[in-house]
Amino acid sequence: MPERRTPSRLGGQDRNGDDTPPDVRFIRVPSIAERKLGREYVAPMRLDPRVLDQMQETIRGLETKYAEALKSQVSMLQILVEPACKGDTEARGRLYSLAHDMRGLAGTFGHPMVGRFADSLCGYLENCESEGWKDGTVIVFHVDAIRDAIENPKTDAAVTMETLDALERLIEASRRDRRKRG
Protein backbone atom coordinates (compact mmCIF):
# COMPACT_ATOMS: atom_id res chain seq x y z
CA MET A 1 0.00 0.00 0.00
CA PRO A 2 1.25 3.51 -0.73
CA GLU A 3 2.31 5.47 2.29
CA ARG A 4 1.93 9.23 2.38
CA ARG A 5 4.89 11.32 3.39
CA THR A 6 5.59 14.95 3.84
CA PRO A 7 7.62 16.60 1.08
CA SER A 8 10.60 17.17 3.37
CA ARG A 9 11.28 13.43 3.54
CA LEU A 10 11.80 13.08 -0.17
CA GLY A 11 14.69 13.88 -2.48
CA GLY A 12 15.36 16.41 -5.19
CA GLN A 13 14.19 19.97 -5.26
CA ASP A 14 10.81 18.79 -4.08
CA ARG A 15 12.25 18.44 -0.59
CA ASN A 16 11.71 22.16 -0.12
CA GLY A 17 8.00 22.07 0.43
CA ASP A 18 7.53 25.80 0.77
CA ASP A 19 6.62 26.27 -2.88
CA THR A 20 4.80 22.96 -3.27
CA PRO A 21 1.28 23.51 -4.57
CA PRO A 22 -1.40 22.20 -2.22
CA ASP A 23 -2.70 19.68 -4.78
CA VAL A 24 0.69 17.92 -5.07
CA ARG A 25 1.34 14.89 -2.85
CA PHE A 26 4.44 12.82 -2.37
CA ILE A 27 4.11 9.09 -2.13
CA ARG A 28 6.49 6.28 -1.25
CA VAL A 29 5.46 3.00 -2.79
CA PRO A 30 7.17 -0.26 -1.72
CA SER A 31 9.61 -1.56 -4.29
CA ILE A 32 8.62 -4.40 -6.58
CA ALA A 33 11.00 -6.68 -4.68
CA GLU A 34 9.30 -5.78 -1.40
CA ARG A 35 5.91 -6.51 -2.91
CA LYS A 36 6.98 -9.78 -4.53
CA LEU A 37 9.10 -11.18 -1.71
CA GLY A 38 7.47 -9.60 1.32
CA ARG A 39 9.38 -10.03 4.56
CA GLU A 40 11.98 -12.25 2.88
CA TYR A 41 13.38 -9.25 1.04
CA VAL A 42 16.21 -7.32 2.65
CA ALA A 43 17.61 -4.40 0.68
CA PRO A 44 19.86 -3.86 -1.13
CA MET A 45 19.36 -6.48 -3.80
CA ARG A 46 22.61 -8.23 -4.64
CA LEU A 47 23.74 -8.37 -8.25
CA ASP A 48 24.42 -11.93 -9.37
CA PRO A 49 27.56 -12.13 -11.55
CA ARG A 50 26.40 -15.49 -12.93
CA VAL A 51 23.35 -13.84 -14.44
CA LEU A 52 25.45 -11.13 -16.05
CA ASP A 53 27.83 -13.72 -17.50
CA GLN A 54 24.90 -15.62 -18.95
CA MET A 55 23.44 -12.46 -20.46
CA GLN A 56 26.74 -11.65 -22.12
CA GLU A 57 26.87 -15.20 -23.43
CA THR A 58 23.37 -14.73 -24.84
CA ILE A 59 24.54 -11.67 -26.79
CA ARG A 60 27.56 -13.58 -28.12
CA GLY A 61 25.23 -16.37 -29.20
CA LEU A 62 23.16 -13.92 -31.24
CA GLU A 63 26.12 -12.21 -32.92
CA THR A 64 26.37 -14.57 -35.89
CA LYS A 65 22.69 -14.27 -36.66
CA TYR A 66 22.87 -10.51 -36.38
CA ALA A 67 25.92 -10.33 -38.67
CA GLU A 68 23.89 -12.05 -41.40
CA ALA A 69 20.98 -9.66 -40.87
CA LEU A 70 23.37 -6.72 -41.01
CA LYS A 71 24.71 -7.77 -44.42
CA SER A 72 21.16 -7.94 -45.77
CA GLN A 73 20.35 -4.57 -44.27
CA VAL A 74 23.33 -2.82 -45.82
CA SER A 75 22.48 -4.34 -49.21
CA MET A 76 18.98 -2.93 -48.80
CA LEU A 77 20.42 0.46 -47.85
CA GLN A 78 22.37 0.53 -51.10
CA ILE A 79 19.22 -0.30 -53.07
CA LEU A 80 17.18 2.36 -51.29
CA VAL A 81 19.60 5.27 -51.67
CA GLU A 82 18.73 6.17 -55.26
CA PRO A 83 14.92 6.14 -55.00
CA ALA A 84 15.10 7.86 -51.61
CA CYS A 85 17.20 10.69 -53.00
CA LYS A 86 14.82 11.01 -55.95
CA GLY A 87 11.89 11.65 -53.64
CA ASP A 88 10.37 8.22 -52.95
CA THR A 89 8.95 8.76 -49.46
CA GLU A 90 8.54 5.06 -48.75
CA ALA A 91 12.20 4.45 -49.64
CA ARG A 92 13.18 7.33 -47.36
CA GLY A 93 11.21 5.86 -44.49
CA ARG A 94 12.72 2.41 -44.95
CA LEU A 95 16.25 3.77 -45.31
CA TYR A 96 15.92 5.79 -42.12
CA SER A 97 14.37 2.83 -40.29
CA LEU A 98 17.26 0.55 -41.28
CA ALA A 99 19.85 3.12 -40.21
CA HIS A 100 17.97 3.63 -36.94
CA ASP A 101 18.04 -0.12 -36.24
CA MET A 102 21.77 -0.22 -36.96
CA ARG A 103 22.35 2.72 -34.66
CA GLY A 104 20.64 0.84 -31.85
CA LEU A 105 21.94 -2.67 -32.35
CA ALA A 106 25.27 -2.78 -34.19
CA GLY A 107 27.28 -1.67 -31.17
CA THR A 108 25.70 -4.32 -28.96
CA PHE A 109 26.76 -7.04 -31.37
CA GLY A 110 30.39 -6.00 -31.80
CA HIS A 111 30.11 -3.54 -34.68
CA PRO A 112 30.61 -0.23 -32.88
CA MET A 113 31.76 1.69 -35.96
CA VAL A 114 28.72 0.58 -37.94
CA GLY A 115 26.66 1.97 -35.08
CA ARG A 116 28.61 5.23 -35.10
CA PHE A 117 28.22 5.71 -38.87
CA ALA A 118 24.53 4.85 -38.64
CA ASP A 119 24.13 7.30 -35.76
CA SER A 120 25.75 10.02 -37.86
CA LEU A 121 23.46 9.22 -40.79
CA CYS A 122 20.35 9.24 -38.59
CA GLY A 123 21.36 12.56 -37.07
CA TYR A 124 21.72 14.02 -40.55
CA LEU A 125 18.39 12.64 -41.79
CA GLU A 126 16.53 13.82 -38.68
CA ASN A 127 17.54 17.41 -39.38
CA CYS A 128 17.98 17.68 -43.14
CA GLU A 129 14.39 18.00 -44.41
CA SER A 130 13.74 17.39 -48.10
CA GLU A 131 16.67 19.35 -49.51
CA GLY A 132 19.14 17.17 -47.67
CA TRP A 133 17.69 14.06 -49.28
CA LYS A 134 17.95 15.55 -52.76
CA ASP A 135 21.66 16.15 -52.31
CA GLY A 136 22.44 12.48 -51.90
CA THR A 137 26.19 12.88 -51.38
CA VAL A 138 26.09 12.72 -47.60
CA ILE A 139 23.79 9.70 -47.60
CA VAL A 140 25.81 7.80 -50.19
CA PHE A 141 29.07 8.37 -48.31
CA HIS A 142 27.51 7.17 -45.06
CA VAL A 143 26.14 4.02 -46.65
CA ASP A 144 29.56 3.36 -48.19
CA ALA A 145 31.20 3.82 -44.80
CA ILE A 146 28.74 1.39 -43.19
CA ARG A 147 29.33 -1.18 -45.90
CA ASP A 148 33.09 -0.79 -45.59
CA ALA A 149 32.98 -1.18 -41.80
CA ILE A 150 31.06 -4.44 -42.19
CA GLU A 151 33.31 -5.82 -44.91
CA ASN A 152 36.54 -4.77 -43.15
CA PRO A 153 35.87 -5.07 -39.43
CA LYS A 154 39.58 -5.10 -38.57
CA THR A 155 40.30 -1.70 -40.09
CA ASP A 156 42.50 0.43 -37.84
CA ALA A 157 40.36 2.39 -35.39
CA ALA A 158 42.22 5.59 -36.27
CA VAL A 159 41.19 5.21 -39.90
CA THR A 160 37.52 4.68 -39.04
CA MET A 161 37.60 7.70 -36.74
CA GLU A 162 39.05 9.75 -39.57
CA THR A 163 36.21 8.58 -41.76
CA LEU A 164 33.71 9.60 -39.11
CA ASP A 165 35.31 13.03 -38.84
CA ALA A 166 35.20 13.38 -42.61
CA LEU A 167 31.50 12.52 -42.63
CA GLU A 168 30.83 15.12 -39.95
CA ARG A 169 32.66 17.73 -42.04
CA LEU A 170 30.64 16.68 -45.07
CA ILE A 171 27.41 17.13 -43.11
CA GLU A 172 28.48 20.57 -41.97
CA ALA A 173 29.41 21.59 -45.52
CA SER A 174 26.04 20.35 -46.77
CA ARG A 175 24.25 22.39 -44.11
CA ARG A 176 26.24 25.51 -45.05
CA ASP A 177 25.33 25.03 -48.71
CA ARG A 178 21.64 24.70 -47.92
CA ARG A 179 21.73 27.78 -45.72
CA LYS A 180 23.39 29.75 -48.52
CA ARG A 181 20.72 28.66 -50.97
CA GLY A 182 18.14 29.72 -48.42
Binding site: S31, L52, D101, G107
Partner: protein, 164 residues
Protein backbone atom coordinates in the same frame (compact mmCIF):
# COMPACT_ATOMS: atom_id res chain seq x y z
CA UNK B 1 27.47 -17.85 -5.30
CA UNK B 2 24.94 -18.02 -2.55
CA UNK B 3 21.63 -17.24 -4.23
CA UNK B 4 18.66 -16.26 -2.14
CA UNK B 5 15.47 -14.30 -2.09
CA UNK B 6 17.29 -10.99 -2.06
CA UNK B 7 19.71 -11.57 -4.90
CA UNK B 8 18.97 -10.56 -8.48
CA UNK B 9 18.95 -14.12 -9.79
CA UNK B 10 16.55 -16.19 -11.90
CA UNK B 11 14.56 -17.23 -8.81
CA UNK B 12 13.59 -13.63 -8.27
CA UNK B 13 13.08 -12.65 -11.89
CA UNK B 14 10.78 -15.61 -12.36
CA UNK B 15 8.22 -13.58 -10.39
CA UNK B 16 8.24 -10.69 -12.85
CA UNK B 17 6.07 -9.84 -15.81
CA UNK B 18 7.76 -7.50 -18.29
CA UNK B 19 6.17 -5.58 -21.17
CA UNK B 20 8.46 -4.75 -24.11
CA UNK B 21 7.30 -1.92 -26.39
CA UNK B 22 9.66 -1.72 -29.36
CA UNK B 23 9.20 -1.37 -33.11
CA UNK B 24 12.44 -3.10 -34.13
CA UNK B 25 11.99 -6.85 -34.33
CA UNK B 26 15.72 -7.38 -33.77
CA UNK B 27 15.66 -5.26 -30.63
CA UNK B 28 12.55 -7.05 -29.36
CA UNK B 29 14.27 -10.38 -29.90
CA UNK B 30 17.42 -9.19 -28.14
CA UNK B 31 15.51 -7.87 -25.14
CA UNK B 32 13.44 -11.02 -24.92
CA UNK B 33 16.53 -13.23 -25.06
CA UNK B 34 18.25 -11.19 -22.34
CA UNK B 35 15.20 -11.16 -20.09
CA UNK B 36 14.73 -14.90 -20.52
CA UNK B 37 18.38 -15.39 -19.60
CA UNK B 38 17.73 -13.39 -16.44
CA UNK B 39 14.92 -15.78 -15.63
CA UNK B 40 11.92 -13.66 -16.60
CA UNK B 41 9.34 -16.13 -17.81
CA UNK B 42 6.42 -13.80 -18.46
CA UNK B 43 7.26 -11.40 -21.30
CA UNK B 44 4.73 -9.51 -23.40
CA UNK B 45 5.84 -7.83 -26.64
CA UNK B 46 4.18 -4.99 -28.53
CA UNK B 47 5.48 -2.85 -31.36
CA UNK B 48 4.25 0.68 -30.61
CA UNK B 49 2.92 2.89 -27.87
CA UNK B 50 -0.73 2.39 -28.70
CA UNK B 51 -0.59 -1.39 -28.48
CA UNK B 52 1.70 -0.95 -25.47
CA UNK B 53 -1.03 0.97 -23.66
CA UNK B 54 -3.54 -1.76 -24.40
CA UNK B 55 -1.10 -4.42 -23.21
CA UNK B 56 -0.40 -2.42 -20.04
CA UNK B 57 -4.10 -2.45 -19.14
CA UNK B 58 -4.60 -6.06 -20.12
CA UNK B 59 -1.47 -7.77 -18.80
CA UNK B 60 -0.65 -5.55 -15.80
CA UNK B 61 3.15 -5.81 -16.11
CA UNK B 62 5.59 -5.20 -13.26
CA UNK B 63 8.00 -3.31 -15.54
CA UNK B 64 7.77 -1.69 -18.96
CA UNK B 65 10.78 -1.47 -21.27
CA UNK B 66 10.05 0.87 -24.15
CA UNK B 67 11.69 2.41 -27.17
CA UNK B 68 11.38 6.16 -27.62
CA UNK B 69 10.66 6.78 -31.30
CA UNK B 70 7.81 4.66 -32.67
CA UNK B 71 4.80 5.14 -34.90
CA UNK B 72 1.92 5.89 -34.59
CA UNK B 73 2.35 6.47 -30.85
CA UNK B 74 5.85 6.87 -29.43
CA UNK B 75 7.18 5.80 -26.05
CA UNK B 76 6.99 9.33 -24.63
CA UNK B 77 3.28 9.67 -25.34
CA UNK B 78 2.59 6.18 -24.01
CA UNK B 79 4.45 7.02 -20.80
CA UNK B 80 2.50 10.24 -20.37
CA UNK B 81 -0.77 8.35 -20.86
CA UNK B 82 0.16 5.74 -18.25
CA UNK B 83 1.18 8.40 -15.72
CA UNK B 84 -2.04 10.30 -16.39
CA UNK B 85 -4.32 7.29 -16.19
CA UNK B 86 -3.91 6.39 -12.53
CA UNK B 87 -5.19 2.92 -11.74
CA UNK B 88 -6.02 1.75 -15.27
CA UNK B 89 -8.45 -1.11 -14.69
CA UNK B 90 -6.26 -2.69 -12.06
CA UNK B 91 -2.97 -2.16 -13.89
CA UNK B 92 -0.16 -0.95 -11.67
CA UNK B 93 0.07 2.84 -12.09
CA UNK B 94 3.41 2.84 -10.29
CA UNK B 95 5.04 0.64 -12.91
CA UNK B 96 8.70 1.46 -13.56
CA UNK B 97 9.16 2.53 -17.19
CA UNK B 98 12.64 2.07 -18.66
CA UNK B 99 13.19 3.86 -21.95
CA UNK B 100 15.90 2.54 -24.27
CA UNK B 101 16.72 5.01 -27.01
CA UNK B 102 19.33 5.98 -29.55
CA UNK B 103 18.48 9.62 -28.89
CA UNK B 104 20.73 10.63 -26.02
CA UNK B 105 20.65 14.42 -26.30
CA UNK B 106 19.82 16.32 -23.13
CA UNK B 107 16.52 17.54 -24.60
CA UNK B 108 15.27 14.00 -25.25
CA UNK B 109 16.28 12.71 -21.81
CA UNK B 110 14.61 15.70 -20.17
CA UNK B 111 11.50 15.19 -22.26
CA UNK B 112 11.38 11.52 -21.24
CA UNK B 113 11.74 12.46 -17.58
CA UNK B 114 8.97 15.02 -17.87
CA UNK B 115 6.60 12.39 -19.27
CA UNK B 116 7.28 10.09 -16.30
CA UNK B 117 10.02 7.74 -17.46
CA UNK B 118 11.79 6.04 -14.52
CA UNK B 119 15.15 5.44 -16.18
CA UNK B 120 16.71 6.21 -19.56
CA UNK B 121 19.15 3.80 -21.21
CA UNK B 122 21.22 4.82 -24.21
CA UNK B 123 21.64 2.53 -27.18
CA UNK B 124 23.71 0.58 -27.97
CA UNK B 125 22.57 -1.62 -25.14
CA UNK B 126 24.88 -3.82 -23.08
CA UNK B 127 23.97 -6.71 -20.81
CA UNK B 128 25.53 -4.92 -17.88
CA UNK B 129 23.53 -1.73 -18.35
CA UNK B 130 20.22 -3.53 -18.81
CA UNK B 131 20.76 -5.81 -15.82
CA UNK B 132 21.69 -2.95 -13.50
CA UNK B 133 18.80 -0.78 -14.68
CA UNK B 134 16.27 -3.55 -14.09
CA UNK B 135 17.69 -4.41 -10.68
CA UNK B 136 17.53 -0.74 -9.70
CA UNK B 137 13.95 -0.50 -10.97
CA UNK B 138 12.73 -3.50 -9.00
CA UNK B 139 14.69 -3.04 -5.80
CA UNK B 140 14.48 0.65 -5.00
CA UNK B 141 11.45 2.07 -3.20
CA UNK B 142 9.36 4.14 -5.57
CA UNK B 143 9.07 7.83 -4.73
CA UNK B 144 6.24 9.37 -6.70
CA UNK B 145 4.64 12.73 -7.12
CA UNK B 146 0.87 12.76 -7.39
CA UNK B 147 -0.97 15.76 -8.76
CA UNK B 148 -3.98 16.26 -11.00
CA UNK B 149 -3.35 14.42 -14.27
CA UNK B 150 -0.02 12.93 -13.23
CA UNK B 151 1.26 10.22 -10.91
CA UNK B 152 4.89 9.27 -11.43
CA UNK B 153 8.53 10.04 -10.72
CA UNK B 154 9.24 13.67 -9.95
CA UNK B 155 9.66 15.66 -13.17
CA UNK B 156 12.04 17.91 -11.24
CA UNK B 157 14.59 15.25 -10.43
CA UNK B 158 17.93 14.86 -12.16
CA UNK B 159 17.98 12.13 -14.82
CA UNK B 160 20.92 11.18 -17.01
CA UNK B 161 21.03 8.52 -19.68
CA UNK B 162 22.72 5.30 -18.62
CA UNK B 163 25.44 4.59 -21.17
CA UNK B 164 27.15 1.29 -21.88
Amino acid sequence: MNGGPTSADPDFFGHLKVLIVEDSVEMRNLLTALLETMGVADIVQTRDGKSGLAAFARHKPDIIITDGAMMPMDGYEMTRAIRAAGDAEGANPDVPILMISGHVGRDKVTHARDQGVTDYIAKPLSADTLYKAIVAAVSKPIHFVEKPGYRGPSPRRSLDARRS
